[in-house]
């Protein structure tokens, strides 16, 4: 009886510590909502207001007056969707070639791909900026989408999945039917690798949505910013009206959290698998 009690007590302690971790992880989201739904005065007053208020609409009205929120949202959407589509297509196609075919210089090319993975993007950013100036892409969304389409991690990830999950028999059957490389890719490989594409898609989308340094450098026109850059500038410019800024932060975080919670389980499992490789 005593031992049972002690065991239960220990279990309780474990959950108490874990719940503390959960509260710390989730608290910012709660507090962002609190700030976004109250006036700045409510939060600055002493003691501060700790519960949701009814000022969200006013905050949003101020926000929309101060920044082109939907324009920035649209830009972010375009960048994230186009980047994701390109990465999914290019990476699954390249992964198919690397996983299921032998061709001269394959190992060398794949080795190049893996070793270049460690190069930090900041090393390239000054010449990238100059290239965009030369191409006339500076200030356009192309300057963000096209460089991001080369994704070594995605090829590596898709290759691992393709080599184990696409049965050779199926490819052989397609070959006997006369299907060439690209028909095999479209009709056999793509349906087989859908789970891996889902993870890579969410991962790329989140990354593109959250990117900051590249848009900061490339988007030189103040009327064509992505959400992250626009919010950072709004914060820098109007740092005292926290409630208004927080309503923008809230709107920028909601889509991401929704996508994530919808796919969370599979996404986390895949993310750890990718890391453990």
């Amino acid at each position: 009886m005593n031992g049972l009690n002690r065991k239960r007590l220990r279990g309780f302690g474990v959950h108490a510590i874990l719940m503390t971790g959960v509260v710390v992880s989730v608290f910012p989201f709660y507090w962002i909502v609190v700030m976004a739904t109250n006036t700045s005065q409510d939060i600055y007053s002493y003691p501060p207001k700790l519960w949701f208020g009814d000022n969200l609409l006013t905050n949003l009205r101020h926000l929309f007056a101060k920044m082109d929120f939907f324009g920035s949202l649209g830009n972010t959407m375009i960048v994230a969707v186009c980047t994701t589509a390109l990465v999914l297509f290019f990476d699954s196609l390249a992964a198919f070639a690397f996983a299921k075919y032998e061709f001269p210089a394959k190992k060398f090319l794949f080795g190049v791909l893996l070793s270049m993975y460690i190069l930090p993007t900041q090393l390239a950013i000054i010449p990238q900026y100059e290239i965009m100036v030369q191409l006339g892409w500076l200030g356009t969304l192309k300057a963000l989408i096209v460089p991001a389409a080369a994704n070594a991690f995605g090829i590596f990830w898709m290759r691992q999945y393709t080599s184990t999950s696409v049965p050779d028999e199926l490819l052989d059957a397609a070959r006997i039917e006369g299907a060439g490389f690209f028909r095999q890719y479209w009709h056999v490989v793509l349906p087989c690798v859908r789970p891996a594409l889902a993870f890579l898609g969410i991962y790329t989308f989140i990354g593109a949505w959250n990117d900051y340094i590249l848009p900061l450098v490339m988007l030189v026109n103040p009327d064509k910013l992505t959400l992250q850059v626009a919010l950072a500038q709004l914060y820098a410019g109007h740092s005292t009206d926290y409630s208004m800024v927080m309503s923008g932060v809230l709107l920028s975080v909601i889509p991401l959290v929704m996508v994530f919670t919808f796919f969370a389980r599979g996404f986390i499992a895949d993310a750890t698998k990718g890391a453990l490789r």
């Binding site: 474990v14 003691p47 990476d91 930090p120 390239a124 070594a152 989140i206 950072a232």
Partner: protein, 351 residues
């Protein structure tokens, strides 16, 4: 390139006739008997090996499939990285003529107190964030692993900070740690303690940035460790328990050694990402217009090396010096990662 391990010996089999006919149709393959169409690509073990040139040509769909990555990578990454090396030896404002200055940029860098301060800031923030982050991640992972209830809930909640945008979280931390109005100072005042000027003191600035990074990545590392813990076979634990090992002994003799590769992974990743902190101070102190928005806050206490790089390259238009900073910084990261690697590997060899 032609010295790839894939390349086989000289052609031995029948190679007469084109491999691919018009419209890319595969030609009949004599080695496969009449009427059979050859697969466009044969495995390496196939008896017939065509000549090197033709071998490359017949694989055109594969090369086409992988070419987008290599094209984009070459233009927007490889060439720029190499060009950055070249730039580091030039003086250039981005518009006028380039001027070769040799090692002058690096000599200046060596004597630049702001550069060294930015390195110190980066290293301090990295240590302040990585050490508690990885320790707490290990504790959380072991705890989640020890329980069977709510594990999915814990995983989702712990993972969610790592997908949140850094800008949103930096703004949040800026608001919560604000000197005058922040929640933290309100709580301190409520407890009759004196408020802390978080955003203007040399050490608390670093602390806030480190706390931000710790908040964002602790759960992620915990989930990674958890996956590693679950891969440890339970028989090992049972055997140890039978031999009379206590929980502490089991933790240090089984859990930690078997988790070592994953710990190494997380240390390397945390080092690489932690040393590259840029967005945190840039957003947090972007409002400090009194000096320069990218100067890293009061006393430049939040000036990380990448922020200094950005400041030199894109505020001062000193592209040559920016290139020198970012290359010196990259070499430093490599050095620290190698040092990490060496330390962890060395521990492994110890009996």
């Amino acid at each position: 390139m032609s010295s790839s391990p894939v390349a086989g010996p000289a052609p031995t089999g029948p190679t007469s006739g084109p491999d691919t006919g018009p419209l890319g149709q595969p030609a009949p393959d004599p080695s496969r008997g009449p009427g059979r169409r050859a697969p466009r690509i044969r495995p390496v073990s196939a008896a017939a090996r065509p000549g090197p040139r033709r071998r490359v040509l017949r694989h055109w769909p594969q090369y086409l499939a992988i070419s987008p990555y290599y094209l984009i990578f070459s233009v927007f990454m490889l060439f720029p990285v190499l060009y950055t090396v070249y730039l580091a030896f030039q003086k250039w404002d981005g518009i006028g003529e380039m001027q070769f200055v040799g090692l002058q940029q690096f000599r200046f860098l060596w004597d630049d107190p702001v550069f060294w301060m930015s390195i110190r800031n980066t290293l301090v923030i990295w240590v302040l964030s990585t050490v508690p982050m990885l320790f707490m991640a290990l504790v959380l992972a072991v705890l989640v692993n020890s329980t069977k209830r709510f594990t999915a809930f814990y995983r989702v909640c712990l993972f969610i900070p790592s997908i949140t945008s850094l800008v949103a979280i930096a703004i949040f931390f800026g608001a919560v740690f604000s000197n005058n109005f922040g929640l933290i100072n309100a709580i301190l005042r409520g407890l009759h303690l004196s408020a802390v000027p978080w955003m203007s003191n040399e050490w608390t600035i670093k602390l806030v940035i480190a706390a931000l990074m710790t908040w964002q990545w602790t759960g992620y590392n915990a989930i990674i460790y958890l996956a590693g813990l679950q891969a440890i076979p339970s028989e090992l634990y049972e055997a140890a328990r039978m031999d009379g090992a206590g929980p502490v002994r089991i933790f240090f003799s089984i859990t930690i050694p078997l988790l070592r590769p994953i710990i190494l992974f997380s240390v390397v990743i945390s080092t690489v990402t932690g040393l590259q902190s840029f967005t945190e101070p840039q957003v947090l102190f972007g409002s400090d217009a009194s000096t320069n928005p990218n100067s890293g806050g009061p006393g430049q206490a939040g000036l990380t090396t990448l922020l200094y790089f950005y400041h030199q390259a894109f505020d001062n238009n000193d592209f040559g010096y920016g290139a020198a900073i970012v290359w010196a910084f990259f070499l430093l990261i490599l050095l620290i990662v190698a040092l990490n690697w060496w330390l962890v590997q060395r521990k492994e060899r110890r009996p």
